[in-house]
Symmetry: D2
Subunit: 106 residues, 4 copies
């Protein structure tokens, strides 16, 4: 997965400067933060639909879409995969309901 | 990241059978697919807000929340991290707008 | 408002059978429930953004978009404005936190 | 519907200053814009689920929830029902795909 995510992020970062006419990733980043946000929300919705239907194959594809679009948004803001991983690692070791408090949720 | 995601998924899977009173992950899975879906959508929204505000630190934390809750949903449906990575790898090598077609988007 | 909502719903219902090439409403209904759902979620997101920015003019336009798309979805499922109004009326008279219970929320 | 929406909005506006411990509406407004936004998105999701399942009774209840929470958000920003109705009326008379352009959608 490290290779997958890091490699995917590398591809996304390279496409920041690609031609929006030939790269979907470049087109999305060029369209701006609200366009990327809408895609993240749309993929989140599609993930939820697939989960509700207990359709594993569909869910795998939608999760891949969600992760891809979330990484495009991350890249557009200069966030690295290692930072997300670091945040997740920082939280692990924390168990039980304490997890929730560590995320500042109510 | 492999270690991060695989390890996190291992922790989530272990908690499937934990006591919902002491594990946030168990509590969430116990609450069912609609409860997990709402968390995925809520975290997607919070990710969008952080991205709009160009607040990198906030965005890192929200992306971590989004990935964590997406993995909880995945685990509850028996989806493995390797399947999501496999789907993302399958798509790579595909470049430009062809990416979009490969995801079956309109 | 009765006139507004009832009249709008009348227009939407008429367009159910219009040519999708010349009517946005017909095009949306023709595209199916997932397409309408995505528009409802997109407009909900845009409403949230306008509210966060405390931009009244923007918020009025987004709320109009949200209500319009919600009514298109309602019409596509054969739901009448009077049924939604009836449900809201049924709940009124209910005050305080009892409202929440009446909606079956947790 | 005019009576319904105007009356509901009147109730919501009265509760702006109610005790959050005894009024769900006051509690929601007191919790702030992000809390109200999350409820709007959650109700939009539940509306989508009900529409997908073609469950009319469920859809009516979820649409009522969505409209109620959208009006709470509107009220918290000082938006009147008449403004939303005015915006919808302004757009009517506009037919076909011209509707879309009038909403500034792409």
């Amino acid at each position: 997965m490290k290779d997958t995510f890091e490699r995917l992020m590398g591809v996304i970062e390279e496409r920041k400067t690609a031609d929006p006419a030939s790269s979907y990733t470049a087109k999305l980043m060029h369209a701006g933060v609200d366009a990327m946000n809408k895609k993240v929300l749309e993929e989140a919705y599609e993930t939820c639909v697939a989960a509700r239907e207990q359709d594993r194959g569909h869910l795998v594809r939608e999760l891949a879409d969600l992760f891809y679009h979330a990484l495009v948004l991350a890249a557009s803001c200069g966030v690295k995969v290692a930072e997300i991983a670091g945040e997740l690692d920082r939280r692990s070791g924390v168990s039980g309901l304490a997890e929730k408090a560590s995320r500042g949720q109510t």
